[in-house]
């Protein structure tokens, strides 16, 4: 190695040169004030960077992040609970309807009328009568009112949650 470059000086600094190459760099640097100055400057840069101070965060970021994490965990649990409750209600409703239909089928079952079509017509008729009576004008008003109330309550909670999330996000 008869020539030297900044690249070689960097490798020299990082200890990436072989023993012979390092000795050659030492020889060239000692014989040239320019290269000596460059190596000294490079060493100074390396030293300063190694001792660079780490800036510290002025506020308690740990508590803030932990608060957010705990809030997220809590809301996740609440969401889970909400889904479980809604699913349970839906399943209970389905089971009630199926149970009621089954009960009606058993109650109205008469072995002397063995014709399947007759049974089907009969039970379909009883189900349709039941549904018609359930969804009559008065009941529909009540169902509508309950449904609207439920919607209003849900809208309030959604609005409230979004407000809290926005506050936490800031």
């Amino acid at each position: 190695m008869n020539t030297i470059s900044d690249e070689i000086l960097n490798k020299y600094l990082d200890g990436e040169l072989s023993k012979d190459e390092s000795a050659e760099v030492d020889r060239i640097v000692n014989g040239s004030p320019v290269w000596k100055q460059r190596l000294m400057a490079l060493k100074e840069v390396d030293h300063s960077l190694r001792n660079m101070p780490v800036p510290e965060i002025t506020f308690d970021i740990t508590s803030m992040i932990m608060q957010k994490i705990l809030w997220n965990e809590k809301s996740k649990r609440q969401q889970k609970r909400f889904i479980i409750i809604v699913t349970s209600i839906f399943i209970i409703l389905c089971l009630s309807i199926i149970g009621f239909v089954g009960f009606e089928l058993i109650r109205n079952y008469h072995p002397e009328n063995s014709k399947a079509i007759a049974y089907t017509i009969k039970y379909t008729k009883s189900i349709s009568e039941l549904l018609t009576s359930f969804f009559n004008k008065t009941n529909m008003t009540i169902i509508g009112a309950v449904f609207s109330f439920g919607l209003l309550i849900s809208a309030y909670f959604i609005f409230d949650y979004s407000k809290v999330f926005r506050k936490i996000g800031k």
């Binding site: 900044d6 100055q37 400057a41 100074e44 800036p55 992040i65 994490i69």
Partner: protein, 188 residues
């Protein structure tokens, strides 16, 4: 608490001790903040992105493979989140960061008068704030976090030779500034 390894903390958090995550936050917050501050050049943005990074890391902990190093994995999140923030702020930054060839000429701060000349460290610290985000990240990870070029390359998703090129160029630029400002003559 210092004796507990990152992996032990992660296992504890995974087992339901959510509050143990604060140990990881305390361990990495300042160094990650330093990197973000240099990349984003704005303290407020750095704090905001840092919070996002810790939240992202927390939600991603269940996917974290214990054979990887948490620091490498976390800094990759930090680096990518910072890049996304920079892209959102300045679309043209994409070009600025895409190549390692375009290191802008660093300028020394003329406010440094002779009385401050000896404070080389301060001069260098202030000057490296001018480095492009990619260069600042390499310097930060290599010097402040004491990572190897291989780890830096893994975090930044660039080759090891590129990491070395960035490192050498940054040092050379700072070295040239020191020579131009006659700092080294005083040392000699």
């Amino acid at each position: 608490m210092k004796d507990i390894s990152d992996l032990e903390i992660i296992e504890s958090v995974k087992n339901g001790n959510h509050s143990d995550y604060s140990l990881l936050i305390d361990r990495y917050k300042n160094r990650a903040f330093s990197m973000l501050k240099k990349m984003l050049r704005n303290e407020m943005d750095a704090e905001e992105v840092l919070q996002d990074c810790f939240l992202k890391a927390y939600s991603g902990l269940k996917n974290f493979r214990s054979e990887a190093k948490f620091s490498t994995w976390f800094y990759r999140i930090v680096y990518n989140t910072a890049l996304t923030r920079i892209s959102a702020k300045r679309r043209q930054t994409e070009n600025e960061m895409s190549s390692i060839d375009d290191l802008p000429e660093l300028k020394s701060n003329d406010d440094y008068e002779s009385s401050e000349k000896k404070d080389i460290s301060k001069f260098i610290n202030d000057t490296i704030d001018q480095l492009p985000p990619k260069y600042a990240t390499v310097i930060n990870l290599f010097y402040i976090d004491g990572m190897s070029c291989e780890e830096v390359s893994e975090i930044m998703n660039i080759g090891v030779p590129n990491v070395k090129v960035i490192l050498h160029r940054s040092r050379n630029a700072l070295k040239d500034l020191l020579i131009a400002r006659n700092y080294v003559m005083e040392i000699l």
